[in-house]
């Protein structure tokens, strides 16, 4: 009684009212679904009957699905290619751009422009660019130098690299801006110090710039892995997972389980498996940012 009065007097009610938006939205749309994800993985949910406990059956279903390993392989392949294409490009671009004394604003703007294009627009536009005929946009360009015509997204072997190329185009700009910001915080004394010893430009890049960027490089690496493991819009809209399942990713599998076959339990189980993997990546990320911000 006494405690309640004191709570009310000290503004407890207004605090609670002000917290309601957060508690309700997070309660309903973050905390509850997260908890429910674990529960649903062990249940059969089809929206018609009451959910029933089925133990590990959902996991048996997803691991037994021949498409499971295909989707894992494709997703890993996508991530690998995305790192191969997309990881060095922003770094090289940012290191170069940071040496330009004029027009940096213009360069940054140009680099970032693709990032603001809505992904659906970008994917549909590139889908047209990838037209396999000789008058396709990319085939025309390559035709000028005597290459092609290529089949792009219609060929099983080229589909995935094509998706990665588009995704890299769409996302590299954001990373460039992150690196540019990080490069301004590289301490000038360090350059001065190695210059006294007569260090050349490459030596400075290799022994000063890159080591100073190592935390941010790790962070962008992990963020990129986390993002590419959740790749969906590109394969969904560009290839639909084809040709011949060459671009079926894990997320596409989750989508198909839930929204094509109505097997919500299997979809959630697969999400959970993906979540465990990504949580490990996030934990590394969190440790990296912490040590980075305190250093």
């Amino acid at each position: 009684m006494h405690a309640t009065v004191r709570w009310v007097r000290s503004g407890g009610i207004s605090t609670l009212i002000l917290l309601l938006p957060l508690l309700l939205t997070f309660g309903y749309f973050a905390w509850f679904p997260i908890g429910n994800a674990v529960v649903m993985s062990f249940q059969e949910t089809n929206l018609v009957d009451e959910p029933t406990w089925i133990g590990l059956d959902n996991f048996t279903t997803i691991f037994g699905d021949p498409l499971f390993w295909t989707s894992v392989r494709n997703t890993v392949y996508f991530t690998f290619l995305a790192l191969l294409f997309g990881y060095p490009v922003p770094l090289v671009l940012a290191v170069l751009m940071s040496e330009f004394r004029r027009g940096l604003g213009l360069y940054s703007m140009l680099a970032y422009l693709p990032v603001v294009v809505p992904p659906v627009v970008a994917v549909l536009l590139w889908r047209f660019f990838y037209d396999a005929s000789t008058t396709g946009v990319f085939n025309t360009i390559l035709g000028w130098v005597g290459l092609g015509p290529f089949e792009w997204i219609q060929s099983a072997s080229m589909a995935m690299p094509s998706l990665v190329l588009q995704a890299t185009w769409a996302n590299a700009g954001a990373t460039v801006i992150i690196y540019l910001a990080a490069l301004t915080s590289v301490r000038a004394e360090l350059y001065d110090a190695v210059e006294v010893d007569g260090a050349g430009i490459w030596y400075k890049i290799w022994h000063v710039t890159l080591p100073q960027l190592r935390h941010i490089l790790l962070i962008t690496l992990i963020l990129q892995v986390i993002a590419t493991f959740q790749i969906f819009t590109e394969p969904f809209l560009m290839t639909g997972g084809g040709p011949n399942n060459a671009t079926t990713t894990i997320l596409l599998q989750i989508y198909n389980y839930a929204f094509r076959f109505g097997d919500y339990g299997a979809a959630t189980a697969l999400s959970l498996v993906l979540a465990v993997f990504l949580a490990i990546m996030s934990a590394i990320y969190f440790r990296a940012t912490r040590s980075w911000s305190t250093s």
Binding site: F26, F29, I34, V121, T135, A188, Y191, A267, A275
Partner: protein
């Protein structure tokens, strides 16, 4: 001489000369003009990059840098601006032109009516308004949750603050895809309320509010506001609500601007979630509708639709450029 190109800079004498320590000027140059230039433009000591002033005076480096700069410029224009310019051209060309000679510099005739056909016949107008409506609601709820939540956690600081901050932070570690299906089931049958939000905009707006990133961003900003101002307001008799509305919110404008712009842009980009919770075509935003439109209209009208769908995000970007380039990605939030 090659650096004659740089006249515009020199036309404004002293424009960049302030705040430059004279000692930074290299002593051993014969070209006085160049020395003046370097002296004027030499950045503050802590802002230098890999190249030293000495490096920059070497002919090989100077030319290498110039060539690199030209290559980067051409590359960026071709890669970033190119597809957008192509889209702008194709949106007002005939289907014939675009299919036969996609890279012709100039179409055989300009077909402005593509844009009108897309807007009216392909019903881009409706989907555009739907998108605006989706973005507005998402913006409102994100701001509501982030300001009230951030305010309680940063300023009022009740006893369970740490626990609650932890619970909010924890959701950051759960990737969106993991809750996709359970979230969908929640929306189908909201616990305790027993209603379905399917085919209502609430299904997009409310989950958008549960954005841990925004809450923590606003909390961090408010954490750094001077607390003696709050004390003074409290002494003057301001309750928690007045304190929020008249003291904390006006002081938090910068961060609210950042949250707002990213909220609107994110809502504009979002595809998978609205696809799932808004199966009714009349309600769908552009991102969900464009893939369907692709199969139902002619190519020229489709490309015009793509262009219209891109204009607003690009306009927002161009207007608030600085804000984007300073806060892009997570870099800044992580650093804060």
């Amino acid at each position: 001489m090659n650096h004659l190109v740089r006249t515009p800079e020199r036309a404004r004498p002293g424009a960049a000369s302030t705040g430059t320590p004279p000692s930074k000027a290299p002593e051993t140059r014969r070209h006085t003009r160049r020395r003046l230039r370097t002296a004027r433009r030499a950045p503050a000591p802590e802002e230098r990059g890999v190249l030293s002033e000495f490096d920059r005076d070497r002919a090989a480096v100077r030319w290498g840098l110039r060539i690199a700069q030209a290559l980067v410029l051409v590359g960026l224009i071709a890669a970033s601006l190119g597809p957008m310019l192509w889209l702008a051209k194709a949106a007002i060309s005939t289907t014939q032109d675009t299919l036969r000679e996609p890279l012709a510099l100039w179409p055989s005739g300009i077909q402005w009516e593509n844009l009108a056909t897309a807007w009216n016949q392909a019903e881009i107008n409706r989907y555009f308004l739907n998108t605006v409506w989706v973005a507005t609601g998402s913006w409102f709820f994100q701001l509501l949750v982030a300001t009230t939540g951030g305010y309680v956690l940063a300023v009022l600081r009740p006893r369970f603050t740490k626990l609650l901050t932890g619970a909010v932070l924890a959701t950051l570690f759960v990737p969106g895809v993991v809750v996709l299906v359970p979230l969908f089931l929640t929306v189908l049958d909201v616990p305790l309320f027993g209603v379905s939000l399917l085919n209502t905009y609430w299904a997009v707006w409310l989950p958008a509010g549960a954005n841990a990133f925004n809450v923590l961003l606003v909390k961090r900003f408010m954490d750094n506001l001077p607390r003696d101002v709050f004390e003074a307001a409290r002494v003057d008799g301001a309750g928690p609500f007045r304190l929020l509305l008249f003291v904390v919110l006006p002081m938090s404008k910068p961060i609210l601007g950042v949250v707002s712009i990213f909220a609107v842009l994110h809502a504009w980009k979002d595809f998978l979630w609205p696809l799932i919770v808004l199966p009714e075509p009349q309600l769908q935003p552009l991102s969900v509708r464009l893939p369907v439109i692709r199969d139902t209209v002619t190519l020229d009208v489709f490309l015009a639709s793509l262009l219209i769908s891109t204009l607003l995000p690009i306009a927002i970007f161009l207007i608030f450029q600085r804000l984007f380039l300073r806060n892009a990605g997570l870099g800044n939030a992580v650093k804060a």
